[in-house]
Symmetry: C2
Subunit: 329 residues, 2 copies
């Protein structure tokens, strides 16, 4: 093989990597949201195609050099999106039939070359998987903001907003979150409680519900405030329950943790693992920021390459270098 | 005065009453949703106008007999809606400038002619008010399903759905709610857990979020199931906190309880009042099903009529009779 192209499509941004058989990342490209559910099939496919072309350009490679395209994305299974993406790839001279992979599995493979273990994600949403023999064998949660995503950024952010409103409303205890939310959403400090309540509610209802995830950071910033701490403790408990739901005595291996909420908050990771382990020893977590490396791991495996410790090490190192100092820039 | 026309507009249906100065209901009419927020200003205004004309027709009255129109509705304050309603009323020969009133105050006035007390509503949403000298002096919650409405039908129904999914997913305890939700949403009994989870989530996400309120009844039907009981207990605690947020030592009076969730579940009412009263004696609740009588009370007061116990009694009796055996039908 000459090279594989791996695309890791997320709700906020999309990453594409051109990787050779030795695991060297030769080009890295970025695009806008690649989530066909939130952004629509056409926009998502366009983001993926443009990030792919950026990776090729960075590597100084031609479409004909690409043996295989792998796409890791949530909801990548929708027919309209697959068709649209295939059309865009073919237009660019790339292989028109990408291999589709789970975004959760790509996240796991960003943390380890091992074929067994667990993945836990808390970003805007939240989910856990069990990985056995390199395959995603079980999944828990990932059910979206209305029905699940327990312990996610949305889950935390919604509780932050509700706690601030309950405080303003006299229904709940006073909390430092109230001032933090008012400041974040630009509600004037002088406004009386009921008017501030209405202003905050008006602000939230005009945005998409998932934007409440933006407020999650306020719970961590307010550490020490009993209301904020109770929200974070609840998130840790929820994430531990999600991880426990996929755990099996027959599968031992690392716990790869990803998503913005887990990646940015070491105290939350420790709390999740302590709750998960109970009386036993808490496993060491591996922390990843996205599924870019893992998408490349999956693409290489699909092309028949054995991704051992050495290939994985090369991949991690060269992806990091390309992200920091993109070739050709 | 000859007669007043009172319109009580709700999210599900709209009620209109033609009432004379003695409190006699001479005609009762119904229409579709009169909520300008969920149904749009035009549809809501049309529902109100048609229910008003139905009430006139039932009474065999002419538009010229109407001295005053009062509209009790949530969100009645929006300009577009007021303009549209005024236009529709004028077209029908009715007074084109209706008096606007709070739907929560109309609910309170459906339960008592007294001028002081408290109102607590739990239907699709939830809120509490303090009434002093006939005016709504304080309000708590009513902040909608995303940010408030603690203890409402939505709040309960969402927890029912989440508990069923957590059970199916292995994240939460087993509960009778799971079978109840599967049955209610027509998920085949033979479907494996993950497929059932996806089917339930798919069903919910294709509907409007507030439709989760339809599942609230399952929590009451499953009384005795620990998960269902914990949800109902949580709702009682939340509603008691909302009521406490508006309570003042200077205002004593009845607690009028309304909305489908409170009206249909005496055990929930008892639990709310016991939590609210704490060590003291729980107040006796007055239970109402909607704000129709109260809208008429407010319309009569607006027209200068003193609504005493006798007038209120006449109103309650004649409204009930008209609802059961509409004139002219």
């Amino acid at each position: 093989m000459t090279a594989v192209l791996a695309i890791d499509a997320g709700g906020t941004s999309t990453r594409a990597l051109l990787v050779d058989a030795g695991g060297r990342c030769r080009g890295f490209g970025r695009g806008a949201s690649g989530n066909p559910i939130s952004s629509g099939a056409e926009v998502a496919a366009a983001s993926m195609a443009s990030s792919a072309l950026a990776a090729l350009a960075a590597a100084g490679a031609a479409p004909a050099d690409v043996d295989l395209v792998l796409l890791a994305a949530a909801g990548a299974g929708s027919g309209a999106h697959r068709d649209e993406l295939g059309r865009r790839l073919a237009e660019s001279g790339l292989p028109a039939r990408p291999v589709f992979a789970s975004d959760l599995l790509a996240m796991f493979c960003s943390g380890t070359h091992l074929l067994h273990g667990y993945g836990l994600v808390s970003g805007t949403g939240a989910a856990a998987i069990r990985v056995d023999d390199g395959r995603q064998e079980a999944v828990a949660d990932g059910l979206g903001w209305l029905l699940g995503d327990d312990g996610s950024g949305f889950w935390i952010g919604q509780r932050v907003a509700r706690a601030a409103l309950a405080d303003l409303d006299g229904r709940g205890p006073g909390t430092a979150l109230t001032t933090a939310v008012r400041t974040r959403l630009d509600v004037p400090a002088g406004l009386p409680a009921r008017e501030a309540t209405q202003a905050l509610a008006g602000y939230v209802y005009t945005a998409r519900p998932v934007r409440l995830a933006d407020l999650a950071v306020l719970a961590f910033d307010a550490a020490g405030d009993p209301v904020a701490d109770a929200i974070v403790t609840g998130a840790a408990r929820a994430l531990a329950a999600t991880l426990r739901a996929v755990s099996s005595p027959e599968v031992t291996g690392p716990v790869v943790m990803g998503g913005g909420v887990l990646a940015r908050n070491p105290a939350l990771r420790d709390a999740v693992l302590a709750t998960y382990a109970g009386e036993g020893d808490a496993p060491q977590p591996l922390v990843v920021h996205d599924g870019a490396v893992g998408a490349a791991v999956l693409a290489l495996r699909e092309a028949g390459v054995t991704v051992d410790e050495a290939v994985f090490g090369t991949l991690v190192r060269t992806v990091a270098a390309q992200r920091e100092y993109p070739a050709g820039h």
